[in-house]
Symmetry: C2
């Protein structure tokens, strides 16, 4: 075709529906009806269109289809977290896998977008109103996350993980963090090989509901027994951040015999620090984590932890969006997925 100077690259334009129509000897409308399996098409026309499509290698243009009011069959999983942290978060990976699996079997395409915590909103709005997304799943939202408001405003079918807010009209899937943590603390207090005498917790970053719930369960469980809870907060969910928190905790309370951590990488960090200080796990100190992530199997001994069904959550996220696409309205319902304690060597 013709190339203009200001456009260095020839536009990528495949064969169009018009090409197919010409080859098949019918109108574009008829081709459209055939492709979309909507409306009547004589078997004679169908035959020749079929052949023409095969001959030309026609592939529909999603942008045009979207412009004309149809669905693009793309659904985005937005990771609202800096990429490097994302890479360290096993749950996010699991969700991605689960969502991909569900979407693939339901004839949709998963698009993962990483949106940094400090990123501008413009790029996100562009995606929202870009016309190439039929739905949005938001992972790792903060409390009061502005992205949630934008999604709601857009009216796009959506689902969130782990967010709770007033006036939320988007369904949320989450693990039952509170119950999971409560069960684990109870285990540490009563049933562990060496029941805890002096327990502390390394809590996760303050701005996530997961961290809040796990911490609240810890506090409630101890207060129910009139034990004073010791809590050290880690700034991030990462191992590095956990190292800092663990040192602070152990400096302030050298006598703890049990540490419950808000996730596995924090627990691994505690074990590292403990080892550095010549204390053994689980003999001197018991350590437990949360998530049953890869970290859980990479410590010595392996971590006793709370298994989190990350893939199931991804499936749930995707399913909620697809159901809305099917016409259901789910409002701000909360879909809790339950956890399970996994006892290994560390506690």
């Amino acid at each position: 075709m013709t190339e203009a100077a200001p456009r260095p690259l020839p536009p990528v334009r495949g064969v169009t529906m018009a090409d197919v129509a010409r080859v098949a000897g019918v109108s574009r409308g008829t081709v459209s009806r055939y492709v979309r399996k909507t409306g009547y098409v004589s078997s004679r026309a169908a035959k020749s269109i079929e052949a023409a499509i095969h001959e030309t290698g026609y592939v529909p243009n999603v942008a045009a289809r979207s412009l004309a009011g149809m669905r693009a069959r793309n659904i985005a999983l937005v990771i609202h977290q800096d990429a490097t942290l994302f890479a360290e978060d096993p749950n996010l990976m699991g969700m991605m896998v689960g969502a991909n699996q569900f979407l693939t079997t339901h004839d949709h395409q998963l698009l993962v977008m990483i949106h940094p915590e400090q990123g501008g909103l413009t790029r996100f709005k562009n995606a929202l109103y870009g016309g190439f997304l039929d739905g949005i799943m938001l992972a790792a939202p903060r409390i009061g996350d502005p992205l949630v408001g934008l999604i709601q405003e857009s009216g796009l079918p959506a689902s969130l993980v782990g967010a709770r807010a007033e006036g939320l009209t988007i369904p949320v899937v989450d693990v039952d963090n509170y119950t999971g943590a409560y069960e684990m603390v109870t285990y540490l207090l009563d049933r562990a090989p060496k029941p805890a005498k002096r327990v502390a917790m390394i809590a996760g970053p303050r701005d996530t509901t997961a961290a809040q719930d796990r911490r609240q369960a810890f506090v409630d469980c101890l207060e129910a027994r009139a034990i004073e809870p010791i809590v050290e907060v880690s700034e991030h969910w990462s191992h590095d951040s956990g190292l800092v928190a663990a040192r602070a905790l152990l400096d302030a309370h050298p006598d703890v015999d049990t540490v419950f951590c808000a996730n596995d990488s924090l627990a691994a960090a505690v074990m590292t620090v403990l080892q550095d200080r010549g204390r053994t796990v689980p003999d001197d100190v018991r350590v437990a984590g949360f998530d049953d992530s890869r970290w859980a199997m990479s410590t010595t001994p392996h971590l006793t932890t709370v298994a989190q069904p990350a893939e199931a959550m991804g499936v749930a996220l995707a399913e909620l969006v697809v159901r809305q696409l099917g016409g259901e309205s789910l409002g701000g319902q909360l879909f809790l997925q339950s956890t399970q304690i996994v006892v290994r060597g560390s506690a």
Copy 2:
């Protein structure tokens, strides 16, 4: 299950350029020129358009823009691997991070798509010709990967990692696997604390060039010294698969004193099997890996391995696509990134 009624959802349509034009009291063309910063717009018109955009909250529709021949500013990183394997592959994560970082600072949006190994080609073609992608980066391609041909046919700006093929017109970025492996084997033979007497290798899956190159280096290095190489092939890059290969290797050659592994998860697997059989690392057997992934720090002792600049590769992939978008033609050039030996406790 499937989408029922015609269109149960109100289509998500934000304010359009026409709305802005009306509010600003100018024509749509003028708004477009203003938004795209192309052509002349009087400062008076600019003022009122500016205000109108702000007032209406206008966000451009990418689909329409794309249809009109413009770029969507979306670039896809296609992971050609089953999602569960992807989740285990640290390099892929690093590339994702690197690509995201480069693209974000260059005003493009990264879209990650997971394409299963056995997946049909239709879904991929749809993305290629969908009109919402300006470029493609392909990670984890197999040898003779059909996706490469499709990308080439489409004419979309693209880059690949780790693929080599006749007649390739797409630039490739790769680590210098051969040199990296050769250096490591040389180290194991000559300079390690306990130089190897009887070395074996656990090689990676046959259908990747990375596995081939690492294995070839091992073979060449040994043959240069007239030592017969022992090689056991692991079906996948995964830890589980490595367990199987390690057992087979150790059954057939119980006397090896050094095992070079094609990646870290395989090395970790070897260490696990060794431990099960009561042999210590590095005293009885030395083990080395490749990648310097998270696995490398999760074994006891930590792994001696070959560091792979995964993030740098992601950056390179993205940069190559963006350069093509800028008009450069790179052909099938190969961009090799060099590795570095990291000596830790295991060898």
